[in-house]
């Protein structure tokens, strides 16, 4: 497939004048096949999964469980019971944190003075649940700090993850500067001290083949809508033995085994974490998105994204007053180029680009500790995906070069 094939498969790009969409880290556009999978479920297979004693409910269940298998295969996981469907990355990570709090098992015990280790570049979704867990348990929240290019060094991993560390949470790829964190080393070190590991894969799954089994992490979270899927469906991978030991935090319909007036036993994993009617249409869409990404292939995705990122960064080098955050090497950005223009507030930059129908994000990107680390309040983020084109990059660079003038410089 080429970029033109992909654009042809996405209604958004078949509009007469589609905007230049460079906010792919926030959400991606959906191929027609994904939309069709969602619609087809609602049109022809719509029944409550698991509950009906009739064929249609069985078919709905089959679609939902087939999606689980598909996602498991996408992540190279052999046991689909380890895939829990949630609403999004945020819910997946909160699920882990809340379940740890509710579980009375030595494996999840966190005492006052223990350490929970995160990186300073975390998205708030992979920080606030751990802040809360630390506050409630009395544990100390410790930060691994990257160098100026966004890299967390071996020494930093060694010194921050210690014998008192009970849990380590890190993004696979930062949503601000796109840098891949050395999660293999982080996980290895965490395992050597007996700490649990939670990886936020929201920005990784659309850009690289994620082999969750080989990473050896305990939990891996991501959202469907950042990988060509629909909104409202997210994934939590959890190691089966851990999921079995954890108590759920949402209780109610379909997560039970047997209920008396006073007590209940829970359904086997993963269903004990999926209380209430599930998002089966969303799961169908996510399965279609996995297929679509496999069809494009990560080699093509990487090469197209890296080429465009290099063009963006080269174009920016020619301009006055631009600071790009993170590595100088475009291939270490995973399509994310966050930057500032001297004297121009990021919100103004985004609004001016919006006048030219260019969508970029401006603000703190829900990563305020990283903004503080960088010494800025906010920045502009241009994030690319495999369906973006050279022409779009040229238009973006052209409009960007005029922003300072509009701002009166």
């Amino acid at each position: 497939m080429t970029v033109h094939d992909i654009r042809h498969n996405i209604s958004f790009f078949r509009q007469e004048r589609p905007p230049v969409y460079f906010d792919n880290s926030a959400t991606t556009q959906q191929p027609d096949e994904v939309i069709r999978a969602v619609i087809n479920f609602s049109r022809y297979t719509n029944a409550n999964p698991f509950r009906g004693l009739y064929d249609l409910s069985g078919e709905a269940t089959a679609v939902y469980e087939a999606a689980r298998k598909k996602v498991a295969a996408f992540l190279n996981i052999s046991d689909p019971r380890q895939i829990v469907f949630t609403r999004n990355t945020t819910e997946s990570i909160n699920l882990v944190a809340e379940c740890i709090l509710r579980t009375n098992h030595s494996r999840f015990r966190i005492d006052p003075g223990d350490r929970i280790v995160v990186t300073v570049s975390e998205h708030h979704s992979n920080l606030l649940p751990w802040q809360r867990l630390a506050r409630i348990t009395g544990a100390r929240l410790v930060f691994m700090e990257p160098d100026s290019t966004g890299l967390i060094t071996d020494a930093e991993i060694e010194s921050r993850i210690t014998d008192r560390t009970k849990l380590v949470a890190a993004a696979h790829v930062s949503n601000v500067w796109g840098r891949v964190n050395p999660i293999d080393k982080i996980i290895l070190r965490a395992r050597s001290v007996g700490a649990l590991t939670v990886i936020d894969g929201a920005q990784a799954v659309a850009h690289m083949k994620v082999d969750v089994r080989n990473t050896g992490c305990d939990f891996y979270a991501f959202s469907g809508h950042k990988m060509l899927g629909p909104m409202g469906i997210g994934v939590l991978f959890g190691r089966a033995d851990l999921l079995e030991q954890l108590d759920p935090f949402l209780s109610g319909g379909e997560m039970i085994e047997y209920v008396t007036r006073e007590s209940a036993t829970y359904a086997p994993i993963p269903h004990k974490f999926e209380a209430g009617t599930v998002n089966a249409a969303g799961a169908a869409g996510l399965a279609a998105a996995c297929d679509y990404i496999d069809k494009i292939g990560f080699d093509y995705i990487k090469s197209q994204v890296n080429t465009l990122t290099a063009e963006v960064m080269n174009g920016m080098r020619e301009m006055e007053g631009i600071t790009v955050y993170g590595s100088r090497n475009p291939s270490e950005h995973n399509g994310i180029v966050s930057f500032s223009i001297a004297g121009c507030h990021p919100h103004d930059v985004a609004s001016i680009l919006n006048e030219d129908h260019i969508c970029v994000r401006a603000g703190h990107h829900c990563a305020q500790p990283l903004m503080q680390f960088l010494g800025i309040g906010s920045c502009v983020r241009c994030s690319l995906y495999a369906y973006n084109t050279h022409r779009e990059v040229s238009r973006f660079i052209d409009c960007l070069s005029r922003v300072r003038k509009v701002m009166g410089y």
């Binding site: 507030h345 919100h347 919006n354 006048e355 509009v406």
Partner: protein
């Protein structure tokens, strides 16, 4: 007026050379206003004597629309009785909400009336309001 013209004609002047952006000595009231979605963070300082705003300034970090709006606001309210300032705030909110559209009614806002079109740019409404809502919190 489109956004680029808005920047060119009025906002940039107040953004690049804000007359009231400075740290005031011995203010009577200091209040911080924050826009959590974008991280804009300003501190508004006022001196009030005999129920009249005698001096006003602000510091902090904010976008051009937010900075210009706060600067134009202080241009307007310095010298006003607090009741008159409250009326002006109501008028500005009415304009941004799109409830007041009559240009004659908006004349009292002077330069700040140029932000009328922000009503059509939902993403920027909070920027235009930051200074004004902070002042509203002070005056009640």
């Amino acid at each position: 007026m489109d956004l680029k013209n808005l920047y060119r004609e009025i906002v940039n002047d107040h953004n690049l050379h804000p007359a009231h952006k400075y740290e005031m000595e011995n203010p009577d009231i200091v209040l911080r206003g924050v826009n959590p979605t974008c991280g804009d963070d300003i501190t508004l300082m006022l001196k009030i004597m005999d129920d009249t705003v005698t001096e006003g300034s602000f510091t902090g970090s904010s976008c051009a629309i937010s900075t210009a709006s706060a600067d134009m606001m202080l241009d307007n309210v310095i010298g006003l009785k607090t009741d008159q300032a409250r009326n002006l705030i109501r008028k500005f909110f009415g304009m941004i909400d799109g409830d007041i559209t009559d240009d004659r009614e908006l004349e009292a806002l002077n330069d700040a009336a140029c932000l009328k079109d922000i009503a059509r740019m939902p993403a920027r409404v909070k920027c235009a309001l930051l200074g004004w809502s902070t002042l509203k919190d002070i005056l009640g």
